[in-house]
Symmetry: C3
């Protein structure tokens, strides 16, 4: 295990009205949800997306570092620096890449593209290059999208030394023959890979992992939205008494997750539930991609929350393609980590192009995503296994004020049904999520019934 240099830098992302309001009291995540003002929270989150958007991030370097510092604020976000050359399973932490400038000038000296205007214009991890290049030779260093001719693609070459520019296919088609002036002022040197971490300790050492990739440059939904949601979630949870320990990771995609896993195998073994956060601000419906296990508690909690969200949603089985769930779910770890997104990567036309701007991201969708994440955590936190202490026949609920006095009505209301379901199913063999699934009642209703019955002495929590 290689020692990393933790860097704690006080940032400027101050907690503001809408969210901090919710942090004060400590009545669990349900209280947090009840107090949350989604409109204000969405507006704040969107403002932060706009701030993050222009920063030229990559899997290493100052853009990544600046982005993480922006997230710090009231958040106890620790920055870790892992030196170039550090081995991480089958991988090695690469040299640190920094971009000072990247410009392509035309035959008449006119600016064709400039990474200062849009960081996507430079091929990620381009090696330094300065010189005159004829158009025909330049072509192999150009990347464009013939099928989306007005958009600039996002392209990288992390592990194959190369330089290049990304531009719209329309612009590329209009390039005149002649000599172009290439200025790629980048550095690729010994340095470190940076990642951020927030640890919120709960009653149990069992961990919930929330991981967001932070390496993409000017792409707002993928993944400024995920970085902001994870940071907001961490900030909100600070004020809450927690059952689980929560670990938030802000890592460069693939290599960052692999590096964290390689350096923290012991911690990784403590992860009992996890979510990879990405693409949570677009207008699409929520989509949950199950963990490799397929029926882990996180998988069922997400399915339950989405089923009761009152909105369209999609559930998908695990596939080994996607974001960092690929690493967390690799067979040597097989963690119970799913991914809760809106439209999944690669499935919206703006994906990995210059059209993934802050305008694609909507404040109300960020807030909706935040609420669903909190509802999922509400399930994980409250998914206790109870045992009915009066299991032979129904207890007399009326005597305890839990049942209406006049009999003969046709239907029981939801609150009464929740009491009956909890009494019927809580025999110590299954936690409350099972009761919610079986009864088709929302988890919060089932949990409310369980707490009422516990207070009446009719239900006891088991060791589990």
């Amino acid at each position: 295990m290689i020692a990393t240099t933790p860097m704690s830098i006080s940032g400027r992302y101050e907690s503001s009205a809408a969210c901090s309001q919710a942090v004060t009291a400590g009545h669990g995540i349900r209280g947090l949800l009840d107090r949350l003002d989604p409109e204000a929270a969405g507006a704040e989150m969107h403002a932060l997306v706009r701030e993050l958007y222009p920063i030229p991030r990559s899997i290493t370097g100052d853009g990544l570092r600046r982005s993480l510092r922006l997230l710090q604020g009231a958040l106890p976000l620790t920055l870790h620096e892992v030196p170039t050359g550090t081995r991480a399973f089958d991988w090695v932490v690469p040299r640190e890449w920094n971009l000072r400038a990247a410009r392509l000038l035309g035959p008449d000296g006119e600016v064709v593209v400039d990474a200062d205007r849009l960081s996507l214009h430079v091929l990620g991890y381009s090696t330094p290059f300065r010189g005159k290049v004829r158009l025909e030779d330049l072509q192999e260093h150009l990347h464009s999208l013939p099928e989306q001719p007005t958009l600039v693609p996002y392209r990288t070459s992390y592990y194959h030394e190369d330089w290049g520019f990304c531009l719209s296919h329309e612009q590329r088609a209009a390039l005149r023959p002649g000599e172009y002036d290439v200025l790629i002022d980048t550095s690729l040197e010994e340095g470190s890979l940076t990642y951020g971490e927030v640890l919120l300790r709960g009653a149990s050492p069992d961990e919930v992992l929330v991981s967001a990739h932070c390496c993409h440059p000017s792409l707002a939904n993928d993944n400024c939205s995920g970085m902001v949601l994870a940071a907001t979630l961490a900030r909100l949870l600070q004020g809450v008494e927690l059952q689980h320990t929560y670990r938030f990771l802000f890592v460069p995609g693939t290599i960052g997750a692999i590096t964290w896993l390689a350096l923290n195998e012991d911690f990784a073994r403590r992860v009992v539930h996890g979510l990879v956060v990405a693409c949570v601000g677009d207008a699409g419906r929520l989509t949950y991609k199950r963990s490799r296990r397929g029926n882990a508690e996180i998988d069922r909690a997400c399915a339950h929350v989405l089923a009761h969200s009152g909105e369209d949603y999609e559930l998908r089985d695990f596939t080994p393609y996607g974001y960092d769930e690929r690493q967390y779910c690799s067979p040597g770890f097989d963690l119970a980590v799913g991914s809760l997104t809106r439209t999944p990567h690669g499935e919206y036309p703006e994906y990995h192009t210059s059209a993934d701007t802050p305008e694609l991201v909507r404040a109300d969708r960020l807030a909706d995503s935040l609420v669903r994440y909190l509802e999922v955590l509400e399930v994980l936190e409250g998914n206790v296994t109870y045992v009915n202490l009066s299991p032979k026949c129904e207890p007399q609920l009326g005597r305890r004020g839990l049942y209406g006095p006049v009999g003969g009505h046709s239907h029981a209301v939801a609150a009464q049904m929740a009491l009956l379901w909890v009494l019927s199913l809580c025999d110590g063999s299954r936690p409350l999520l099972d009761v919610a699934e079986r009864s088709k009642l929302p988890f919060r209703e089932v949990r409310r019934a369980a707490l009422a019955l516990e207070e009446a002495g009719l239900l006891g929590a088991t060791g589990t």
Copy 2:
């Protein structure tokens, strides 16, 4: 365990032609079914529903007692009296309630409602009350159905002392201001809770429980129909050689089932299959509600019979709301007890109103319900596990006269398919119901094949 006082009273419900005819021979339930005249049985059952209907029943008292005596007749129905104050798990047997008269007179002395005309008019378990009450004060003692303004609702107040009247919303709306004369001549005193029991001993001490609630006053489908079906079933089975022991319970709802379970825990543990009988006379399709276990033999037997009934039907999972399956399936017992009804409680508009009259109950539907109950019992009785004694390749059925002599035909007939399925699947690992389910053949066809193969020496019953 508290000793109860068994009371055996010879009743007047004589066995009559249609049903008793079937009782004579002893060739099992299939023989019973083959000999049953459904039309005559339905007519008899409907006549008994009409007799039971006007009796003012409650969870205790003389109306309940009279109803049970009416069912006795040729039936060895034992009446048990459990004293007020007897503890039954979380409950206590309440005081006995008896209704002498309940009348509401209007400002001019006119009769507004009179329980003598319809027992539903008095709130069940009303405390005695006599006096003048102004309309505005009377209102909180009146119960009506704004959404079904012409019907009188059925309402009770067993465990909260109160008095009241039930009337149609139209009548209530027309009440003139003024003073009303209330006469509620009831008694609520030390006494006992009455329930009836029939025990038919079979070869095995394993019990089949059939339970009907008997506490509802003038409601014909719910549950005069169930009381009559259970009594008829018990009477028919008397003449049959039985594999299981059968226990029929005629109990007041909830408190009656709880009391029986509390006083008979040892017997309850012997119950291997059970059905709660209610609402079996309306025109709706048959509905089976599974036991809490969900895949018990009774659940599969009912599903099989309904699937082969040739009529529309519905299967439902257990919910902890309903009739006494709530108690039998409570987690401390978790008995394999389901409920086979026609339209379930609360789902027909006449439910728990003055419209649930003997006219709602149809003789042909009572008979159809009876036939299905018998078919379910046929499965339970005949669900033997056999083992193919010639398991290597097919035995030569033709040589034994079990297969046609000329080969080459395109299709085997059902009887031949039943022989082949029984030989293929009866390897000692599964009973005949599995064979019927897998082959999609009716149980009686599979059983007939099994008996033929057993006679031919090709099949042997296992210990199970």
Copy 3:
């Protein structure tokens, strides 16, 4: 166990261009498939069907013997003769039946039917008879199809002594009253039952059984097509290095399979996968009937191949009616033997009639069936369980040339997905067919990825 007389007779079915071409190299079944010329193979197979068609086969006798010799050719097909009277479980090998002539002459001496023209005209296993019979007495010896009045049915009377003729219902209806001259010149004598066997030894003694019934006379699809497909498959596999041992059985239906099982119980226990081949040349879609086990590897392999065939197909559960899978799957053996056919027996109008001619059988459908059989064997042969040797996070595929150098694209191609799926799922707990099922990729793609990863040192085969 009774000793049988093996007879090896060199036949005249020479291996010809289309198929033998494929036999030369030894790169497994995938190589065989890649080299196969389906058009030429189909033409050859159809020619052989036409040769087999007119031979008057039965469950014993010279027609059966001649048919098997015709299949020998380059094939090491051993003929076994099992004497009349040999016991086979509940059965006894019957007397050998041979047909010299069977003719029915009309009142004026005109030929009504003659088995020389169509072997179906004589009831199979007719006892010898010569004499004059009046039409009214003749009727009980005539078999026809009122619902298909122009077709001659196929009928037999193996185990009930009788004689008869089969003719079209139209012809039968036109028979004039009078005396008919019956000549049935058959013999039913001590002799033997003949069956053929090919054994191809592979690396493992575990056997794959391919069984075709050979007893039907002039019926081309049922089962000249199956005999030819099995023989062609055996001939092709001769040139291939095999993992399993393959046993091909050419047996008279029912009694032949039962006899083989009775005489070879020890070999039967080695069968790990098996297929009964019949009706593989008609124009209908492929139909797979599962083994009695229902989810055996052969069942899943066939389902997988059909699902990826790009054509309509059908999967069916086992039923105890059909061809020799009835015997192989009888509970005393319960072998993992399914049946892969085109239109199943009894479900095409020409079934077991004079309309099942070589014209019903299509060369292209024979070839398609052959390809699917080979694809199924490809799965069985290559269904290895691997373990990812770099299971913690993904290995760096790009460094090994297994992944494209430029990142950021929206979708992975199938070949890359296959690599990722194999790495994700191959944890030693499941073979490649599971990976193919879960990933919905064709088996050959998954296997190709596994071989590439194995070569790169990232994957190792387990003992299984």
